[in-house]
Chain length 413, copies 2
């Protein structure tokens, strides 16, 4: 018998994918669907960066260097210095095919089959996929909506650390929670990693999207040069998701040398979008001001509208463009399907991501959804109108909580 590998069977399917046919069916019925389920920004890719691709002048689309074009890596080193105060040499930057490949190569270089990585949950669902691909084991450490998904206390980490633990991974600011880790929390993570000889994978894909507080990069932790592996991408920064350009950055030469071997096997990252990434570094310093102001407006509309709905609770995210909300329903998997299959308001509905798919622990997140605020405020308001109506109509709802019984945020993130 031909068989599929265990790994292939364990590989998680996209938690949102099962809803796609219901969204397509709704659209076929003529219902407008507001997509708050995916992290595809609607912001235009900077024209000057797209133009750089339009105006390439080579005649042969050659392999680039396996680590990416040297000119791009040199400019990136300058960018990190200027944008985030990160001091690195260009040789410490490896250009990857999206942040995805950086995570995969990082895990493969540092973890063997059966080795463990601790990730605060809820977490970006594809971390699970990369871990399965690398035969590594994710140990989820629960963070809670009541505290706005703050970093769990150090004792909780230490309970999970065993002989096979090799790394901790965070996403900062966080997808799916929007949580922005404080400097103190980052220092706590450093201490844990130094004490237990763990790698710290820091996925900073949304570094430019911080609204409350300042981003503190893991690369700026002192005395943890060997531990820290930064995962970056241009996907969100420049609204260039389809380019598939990311980076793995570390001062640990052994890790760099090892990742480079994986990079050589796949030959090179995509050439066209490296041109785009390199050009975008020359964007004016205030380029993000407009984008950030737009996302801030959206966040405020979304969170305000959500918290005004009876029984809904949504902590205020400090960064990224996601929020997790708790809804007064039994099971958001069922509710999200019902929204697409059985509900419409003025011939409109919305698609949300059930949050259970972002938890590693079975049974958690069943009342939560992730919302990506990648629509303009007008569309967001219409989507919130739909949600408000839907919650009134939905038969599977739990008893709504009163405002008084809502959990209090420990810390405004």
């Amino acid at each position: 018998m031909l068989t599929i590998s265990q790994r292939g069977r364990q590989m998680p399917a996209s938690p949102i994918r099962k809803l796609v046919p219901f969204a397509e069916a709704a659209k076929k019925r003529g219902v407008k669907v507001y997509h708050l389920n995916i992290g595809q920004p609607d912001i235009e890719t900077p024209k000057m960066a797209l133009d750089a691709v339009r105006h390439f002048d080579f005649k042969v689309l050659e392999y680039s260097h396996s680590a990416g074009n040297e000119s791009y890596r040199r400019k990136l080193a300058g960018y990190y210095h200027k944008a985030a105060g990160i001091e690195i040499d260009y040789s410490q930057i490896l250009i990857t095919t999206g942040g995805s490949e950086a995570i995969l190569f990082g895990l493969m270089s540092c973890l063997d089959a059966g080795d463990e990585i601790i990730i605060p949950e809820p977490f970006y669902a594809n971390y699970n996929g990369f871990a399965v691909a690398a035969n590594a084991v994710v140990k989820p450490l629960t963070s809670y909506i009541e505290t706005g998904f703050a970093l769990p206390p150090i004792e909780e980490f230490e309970k999970l650390i065993g002989p096979r633990t090799r790394a901790i991974m965070i996403c900062n600011p966080n997808n799916p929670t929007g949580y922005l880790y404080s400097r103190e929390e980052m220092e706590t993570l450093k201490d844990i990693c130094l004490k237990h000889d763990l790698y710290l994978f820091s996925d900073e894909a949304y570094r430019d999207f911080c609204y409350s507080g300042t981003h503190f990069s893991a690369m700026n932790l002192k005395g943890a040069d060997k531990n820290v592996i930064l995962i970056d991408t241009i996907s969100k920064r420049y609204s260039a998701c389809g380019g598939r350009i990311g980076a793995l950055i570390t001062r640990n030469q052994d890790v760099l040398d090892t990742v480079m071997k994986f990079a050589q096997a796949r030959l090179s990252p995509p050439s066209f979008a490296q041109i785009l990434g390199e050009a975008a570094i020359d964007l004016p310093d205030n380029y993000f001001d407009t984008t950030r102001a737009e996302y801030l407006r959206r966040r405020d509309v979304l969170v305000d509208r959500l918290n005004k709905m009876p029984g809904v609770f949504c902590p205020n995210p400090g960064g990224a463009f996601y929020a997790i909300a708790r809804l007064p329903v039994d099971d958001t998997d069922v509710f999200c399907q019902w929204l697409l299959e059985s509900f419409s308001y003025n011939n409109q509905t919305l698609m949300l991501a059930p949050a259970a798919g972002f938890y590693g622990t079975e049974g958690l997140g069943k009342q939560e959804v992730r919302l990506a605020y990648v629509l303009n405020t007008e569309a967001l308001n219409r989507a919130m109108d739909c949600l408000e109506k839907a919650l009134q109509e939905y038969p599977g709802k739990t008893a709504p909580k009163t405002a008084a019984s809502r959990p209090q945020l420990v810390r405004e993130s």
Copy 2:
């Protein structure tokens, strides 16, 4: 102690990479280096395909579908029908980030840690890398220069097949040998795979580059729909290596579904080069005639020149743009370094790939080199002038074989 994974340590470094500093030093001394060591074609990427990228009209560089753009996949299905008589539905095509990713996803979907894959050696060195990444074990099956690297006999395969054997992988026409498998050899492979329930990974990256004989695709083997997994790429076909667009094609729905989960985790293949690949399908039917004729001329110059050198033997490759030659030297690792470090002729030298890196069996290929005929005939002739002189001067040579003692080709490939 922070440690690098076993897998990371096992990951092979590029067999050519160690020579790169010597090539760079030669160039710094003002020596012209002819690069016959890499598979980067010098043929121009079709202008109409590059123009399609120049003229894209989107404003947001979005993720594509995880399986690639549907429009591209539909056109590709038509292309395979027309170009290779392969009948497939577009849903059986998954666009990948280069052929590299197709191999990795295929191995991960079908093999678990410790599972074995038989590959006739010498083979494309990066197969080793993908196998290590997937924790799979390569079982090399030696093919010999004396027979032009023909498929080893069926009994040799069966000696290697054990309880952990899951697949056979071939590259047809072959990198690094240039060998073009006959229809009979493909049928033999099918029989082995059916008898022992093995997947057949067929890497057909060089399908368009056949000079002697006709290419017979594994997808056209009857009765092996579940077994055959085709690996393809646009890198060589359209001289579009930097685009990083490949494909995994199979009629095995379980494999497709599993590979799709890996594809979803990494979100999407690069968008820009999908535009290029889709446009290139509209190239005129005779597009390859010119390219093929050019490579044929190059092959003839290369093989003729090599076989005229005392003690050199080079079987005539039937396809791709590589040849393996046996040189009258002790160790081509040393010889290739010497060419760059200590030799020049009219201030010119050449860079070759020592063939030991293409063998999985330790100690094989030490007298062989791989030559990529990716230079025009004039440059090739100059490179051959250098090699001829070098072999006369080289101190580490073995006793040259006479023409009479040269092995005879069993079959003209």
